[in-house]
Symmetry: C2
Subunit: 335 residues, 2 copies
């Protein structure tokens, strides 16, 4: 059995999900001959450290009860000096600066520590630099959780579709928008009413701009462009239209012809046909991208395997933690 | 760069697809730092061998032109004595005996050679023995191409869903049945007429029993049961109903309520809820398993990631070769 010591930076929804998952398995992954040990957890208040291993369930309980004991160290200090194998960086996304995640990830990679992240900011803004640093140090920089939550995309490209040239990727990458469009279509309700309902149910943020205006989807398009296709683009290169002007009438007209309207992000690599866009589009009802509720879906167009679609839960604490876990076990089995 | 020497046994649709794919890439897979070299190809007439490497494009052309030069050796003799790293066993499935694939695979594994196969017979009949032999010798026995052609299932479980407990798998695993049901539903045509059409188009065999009576799907259910869940079952343990008694009326009634009828194979592991069955079932129109034409689809129910669906081409020479290629590159990157 190999032991992988992880430091979890960020104890919001995703960080708590990771702790919950590791508490459930007691960190034991016999199929991968791996034990995952949590040696540090950090939030904005400080860092709790134990090189011999923290109990994930107890840490989670203490965090929720407000009685987690932290050292005076800052997260960045710990990242620069602590004893861990992999940094699990799960702080919130800042699409403009990538901070504080960007500094955390840089500090870990520059020490030759592998990094697993769910943070879209650093991957969208500095993918080339970060992945170059990881390559130079011979460590991993993995980010499955940044696109599609539990829905595998990067891991799918890496192993099950290995050897395939990827020609394009399009999909539904935002569960909030998909929930709103699904409800509007099924109930014939106007946008504003469904948005209010989504807020009440916790499917939309108090300020939903980031989701409904397509910015979150565009960020994922940038990540896919830079990672899967080696492009070097940023948010300003993506043509973005959100869903706020979609009417029940438009959805009804589409339905009458056998279509649904979905917010689709699409990337096709450089060349005459270069596409980088987010917009509401017609999708045939029985098409693999015609999925309902908060589901995400991706259609990966490949040279050999043809079109491969994957559908899964795009968000959720434990679901996103599952993506992080798959990255951790990939590191364990290939290091 | 690592060189992986492969011996391809079987030069039907799948074997030819593998040669075509390797001819296209010249065997070069820089992302995996791997060169795949074909050192032998065999069909029922004999074996063509060159330890320095055969040209896959030329071999394919010669096979199709009928002027491929073979040695007097039998495939089994070559497998027992030849110089190769991985046996690519792509002879036709015999669901009753598993032969000749079973003898070929056994001969290679017992020499400590890794095996990649598309042959459902040996995996359905002798999974436990074969995988035990591979483990004992410290080599790989991989079979992604046996279920769902280009649609990844086993590779998906192994890496992107690593660490997840799989609770059940159900799906559409036969493109012929899905084509027939899709055409019957969209055109309101009777079964016999669509079956004739499917035969003309090459989507159904002259004797379609194996597909339309659900036997092919049941074989895949057996493979999933034994591999993904460690069960020890065979065809006789699967409850099987095919599609030959489905009427246009039944499809129309389903459609009126927002459903389609699909031939679904399902496996859930041992216990009170054990399920091993193949039958036509109602699927909501916008469900991820509601896919059309010859597409295959699988819904994998997991403990952490929730339900993950994957959709892809279930057959086709190059598509199935893509699954074999992903297995070969997995061996290259983990050996």
């Amino acid at each position: 059995m190999k032991t992988l010591s992880v430091a979890i930076i960020g104890m919001g929804s995703v960080g708590q999900g990771v702790l919950k998952v590791l508490a459930g398995s007691k960190g034991q992954y016999p199929a991968q001959r791996t034990v995952i040990k949590v040696v540090a957890v950090a939030d904005s208040k400080g860092v709790a450290v134990d090189d011999k291993g923290l109990d994930p369930g107890r840490v989670l309980k203490e965090k929720l009860n407000g009685d987690l004991k932290r050292s005076g160290q800052s997260a960045l200090d710990y990242i620069r000096t602590g004893n861990y194998d992999v940094l699990v960086e799960v702080t919130p996304t800042d699409a403009k600066t990538g901070e504080p995640g960007l500094s955390y990830i840089t500090a870990a990679l520059s020490r030759g520590k592998s990094v697993v992240t769910s943070n879209k900011g650093p991957v969208a803004l500095q993918y080339k630099a970060l992945t170059g640093m990881a390559r130079e140090k011979g460590v991993h920089f993995l980010y499955e959780a940044t696109v599609g939550g539990a829905m595998p995309v990067f891991n799918l490209l890496r192993t099950p579709l290995a050897g395939n040239k990827v020609l394009g990727i399009k999909g539904i990458f935002n569960g909030t928008c998909n929930y709103i469009l699904t409800r509007m279509a099924s109930e014939g309700l106007p946008y504003d009413m469904v948005l209010s309902e989504a807020k009440e149910l916790g499917y939309a943020e108090a300020d939903p701009t980031y989701d409904v205006e397509g910015i979150d989807t565009a960020l994922k398009v940038v990540i896919l462009a830079n990672t899967a296709f080696g492009m070097n683009v940023s948010l300003k290169d993506v043509s973005v239209v959100g869903i706020s002007s979609i009417t029940p009438d438009a959805l009804k007209l589409a339905a009458d012809d056998g279509y649904v309207i979905k917010l689709i992000g699409e990337v096709r690599p450089n060349g005459a046909e270069r596409v980088l866009k987010v917009s509401p589009r017609l999708v045939p009802k029985m098409h693999p991208l015609s999925v309902q509720g908060t589901l995400n879906a991706a259609l990966i167009e490949t040279a050999l395997a043809g079109d491969i679609a994957v559908v899964g839960k795009g968000a959720g604490s434990v679901e996103t933690a599952s993506a992080i876990l798959s990255d951790l076990l990939y590191i364990a089995t290939t290091s």
